[in-house]
Amino acid sequence: MGINWFKYSSPQAFHPLAGKMIPWFSVAAGLLIIIGLYIGFFVAPTDFQQGDSYRIIFVHVPAAWMSMFLYVIMAAWAGVGLGLNARPSFMMAQAIAPTGAMFTFIALLTGAMWGKPTWGAWWVWDARLTSELILLFQYIGIILLRAAIDDLRRADRASAVLALVGVVNVPIIYFSVRWWNTLHQGASVSMTASPKMATTMLTAMLIMTVGFWMYSFAVTLARVRCVILDRERQPMWGNQTSIQEVAEAR
């Protein structure tokens, strides 16, 4: 591989590269989500216990997985940013947060839509549900903390520390159904046991998950381009006649 990866560690070089990758991820996301929805609605049979309400899992489970994956990825970028003092890493972390928050919201809302007909309640203070709600507050906290600090370098570091500290909640969400007696059911899919669901249902859910991954890549790359443009906007020193002008341009 003759690619010089360090070249892309500068925002100026990364901006066009991201632009080239976005269409591919977008097309993949669109196709996978359409195929996933088709299998989920037309191939997968009606569940003998839950009827057709179970079809909500085709968005609920992928969204819930994405909410946790994206948090871990965001925190990893934040950690790299803190360790290497690298601006592009902080920019990636900044670009991931809103998408993660959106998927957390979708997971909570679709969970309520499933809980009402199945459990008879929109919401219960169960360990899984509560820890997922806390995850939403963490995302919002990270976004608001960044917005509250004017100095970009400080905002980067402060929100990175908050993101890293909050990683502790991700295993709590994941293992909550095992550690405590929860109303939320246990894992239907795990690395160690065979899946506890029909193959067509599992296929639809996994395809939707990969589709949501592709969507997340596309939308976070598009957002990081906005962040790069916003943050790298200040003109070059050489073109300016005075420090005053540079300060005003910021």
């Binding site: 309400s53 968005v59 959106m102 979708i106 009402k116 598009a222 906007r233 073109n239």
Partner: protein, 52 residues
């Protein structure tokens, strides 16, 4: 294919409201996010032209 008719499909065995609200809100969020990023990018490009 387990749906006898279009109305049966939309009824979702009596769970239509829950299923379609779930899928509808998810679609709205995702399309809304794409639109928001799109507009933000257009604004950022326009502004970067103004400065430099």
């Amino acid at each position: 294919m387990q749906w006898g008719s279009v109305s049966e499909f939309f009824a979702m065995g009596g769970y239509g409201l829950y299923v379609w609200v779930s899928f509808g809100v998810t679609a709205l969020c995702m399309f809304g996010e794409v639109l928001a990023v799109w507009r933000r990018h257009a604004a950022a490009v326009a502004e970067s032209r103004d400065v430099s």
